[in-house]
């Protein structure tokens, strides 16, 4: 056996590493494993002991109509906001990149970025006002001026409510995407474009052959982080969908998304086990999409 002399400096290092393990296990690994375990248990605050019930929560989840809707809502929400953010973010960042004056460039970036740093609680209240179904809601006022007959019931129409929240989220988050793409664009050497221009490539060809492939790492990062944050939407639903008659997540569960469903079951209904099972499904959704996106983008852009 190798006898390692424990120097004082190694003692300090070991102490730091042990502290690291302690925190990481207590606040990350243990909760992660406990979530899995709770998914098989009947649990709630005030219960003396958890009892094992096997797959009952999962059976209940998969046969629940509401939960099916919740999953579809969450997927729809991500499918709506992630591609839009990527397309709009890339387009706007390329426009900003074209601006010659440094001052205006910075001003443009900052204006788009400001909503991202504001709390969704405040943004949600503001958009509830903008979306108001009456004509003092500025969107409806402008649309009626532009010629539509009936005011749009942005947050009250079950067909539209989740899309309305999506529009708000795109508005709030796209500045972040713009900034990431802008930073990515700065790393592309100008000489590539000049060479392509000499070869007679038009603007679209230059975009397809140079800009898009060289920005793949950024696109990948944006796609993964935006999808995860779309799956984790909570604040917007919590703030914007509250009504006196039906609580939140409505109308008729049209804005009920995974994290809100988990929150509602765990903390309003004290069904910790059931909510944990839903959290595990959310966990696998995040894992699946992350892996899928890595694979998809790698295949598509392999040269």
């Amino acid at each position: 056996m190798k006898n390692v002399r424990l120097l004082p400096e190694n003692k300090t290092a070991l102490a730091v590493i042990i502290m690291g393990f302690a925190f990481l296990i207590l606040f990350w690994w243990y909760p992660l494993i406990r979530t899995f375990i709770l998914g098989f248990q009947l649990s709630g605050v005030g219960r003396l002991k958890e009892s094992w019930i096997g797959l009952a929560h999962y059976r209940a989840l998969f046969s629940s109509k509401v939960f099916g809707k919740v999953v579809l809502n969450t997927l729809y929400f991500a499918a709506l906001i992630v591609p839009t953010q990527i397309v709009v973010g890339l387009a706007v960042s390329m426009m900003i990149d074209k601006i010659k004056s440094r001052v205006f460039q910075r001003l443009g970036l900052l204006s788009f970025y400001i909503p991202y740093i504001l709390p969704i609680v405040a943004i949600g209240i503001l958009w509830k006002f903008l979306y108001h179904p009456s004509r003092f809601g500025i969107f409806n006022f402008l649309l009626i001026e532009a010629g539509i007959k009936e005011p749009i019931r942005w947050l009250e129409d079950p067909q539209l409510a989740l899309t309305s929240i999506g529009i708000m989220q795109i508005w709030q988050r796209v500045g972040y995407v713009i900034l990431l793409y802008f930073a990515g664009l700065q790393t592309i050497p100008r000489i590539f474009y000049e060479a392509a221009e000499i070869d007679g490539a038009n603007a679209w060809q230059r975009f397809r052959a140079i800009t898009l492939p060289l920005l793949t790492p950024t696109t990948l990062f944006v796609a993964v982080t935006s999808t995860i944050s779309a799956f984790m939407t909570f604040e917007a639903v919590y703030i914007m969908t509250l009504t006196a008659q039906a609580g939140r997540g409505g109308p008729i569960n049209s804005t009920n998304v995974m994290l809100y469903y988990i929150y509602f079951n765990a903390f309003d209904n004290n069904r910790m086990g059931y909510a944990s099972a839903a959290a595990i499904i959310l966990f696998f959704m995040i894992l699946g999409v992350t892996l899928l996106q890595f694979k998809f983008i790698r295949q598509k852009f392999e040269y």
Binding site: G20, F27, W29, K98, L109, L126, W171, Y263, M272
Partner: protein, 275 residues
């Protein structure tokens, strides 16, 4: 000649389009600000007024309570406390793993890296039960504790530490500097800019967070600003003048902070984004 004119026109149109997009984009924020200074009657007037015809601070007077100062202090404690501790622990752990390589250190780095894609929020149920068991419910420590270590921070610091020239640390080691001395005098000053960038970004995320403080803090005395603002909404009696004034109260300090620290923000975004 004609060709050049065409290009110039194209640029002008593109510039104009961009300017219009920008105006539409910031319009909601203008609308929040200007509407907050309207009277309750003017706010729901049809057609809407483009700016307050009768400048009024009615909304602000209705919404202001001394406890708002407490909300701000609480947000500061929650965001400041968790970011300071998290960045201190992550940088220390990253420093030790890179400077004193060992098997156990490698295991720790993997134990952290495996977690970077997992959102904290997905763990709230067992964390809540844990906080109850530790008797930390409804306390600052209960809000901050799970934030004390931060897997992405460890990962980030590992990368940053690898970029520090080895020689500097070896020289300090030979001079007989203790590990904590090297961390404090050599590593931290070199990591300063990337730490500051990450800290600003993290601070804003914690400041804007709703869910975790909402669960842990149950008395108004502990509410951070986001929970305070959310608790204001009364579905039975909606008063937009009051709400919008509250939004402005919440938003203005963040915007001021952002504008004074924007250098770090942009750096933080590009640093965390380009991993």
């Amino acid at each position: 000649m004609k060709e050049k004119y065409k290009i110039e026109m194209g640029k002008l149109v593109l510039g104009g389009v961009f300017f219009v997009i920008l105006l539409c984009y910031v319009f909601p924020l203008y609308w929040m600000f200007s509407s907050s200074f309207k009277t309750a009657g003017e706010i729901i007037r049809i057609p809407p007024t483009w700016w307050p015809h009768l400048l009024s601070v009615e909304g602000y007077i209705k919404v202001w309570r001394p406890i708002w100062i407490r909300f701000f202090i609480n947000s500061f404690i929650y965001a400041g406390g968790s970011v300071t501790i998290a960045l201190f622990t992550s940088s220390l752990i990253g420093f030790v793993i890179v400077t004193y390589p060992s098997k156990i250190g490698t295991i720790l780095s993997w134990a952290a890296i495996c977690l970077i894609m997992i959102p904290f929020t997905i763990l709230i149920i067992p964390l809540y039960l844990l906080i109850i068991k530790l008797h930390l419910l409804n306390s600052y420590l209960g809000m901050i504790a799970p934030r004390m270590v931060y897997p992405f921070g460890i990962f980030f610091m590992l990368l940053a530490m690898r970029n520090i020239p080895r020689d500097l640390i070896d020289a300090a080691k030979i001079d007989g500097c203790t590990p904590l001395g090297i961390y404090w005098r050599v590593a931290l000053p070199l990591l300063k800019t990337s730490l500051a960038a990450l800290a600003t970004l993290e601070f804003v995320w914690r400041w804007n967070e709703l869910l975790w403080p909402l669960i842990v803090a149950s008395t108004e005395k502990l509410f951070p600003i986001t929970v305070g603002l959310a608790s204001l909404i009364d579905p039975y009696f909606i008063e937009f003048d009051k709400y919008l004034a509250a939004c402005v109260i919440v938003v203005v300090p963040i915007v001021i902070m952002f504008l004074s620290l924007q250098k770090f923000f942009v750096k933080g975004i590009t640093l965390t984004g380009m991993k």
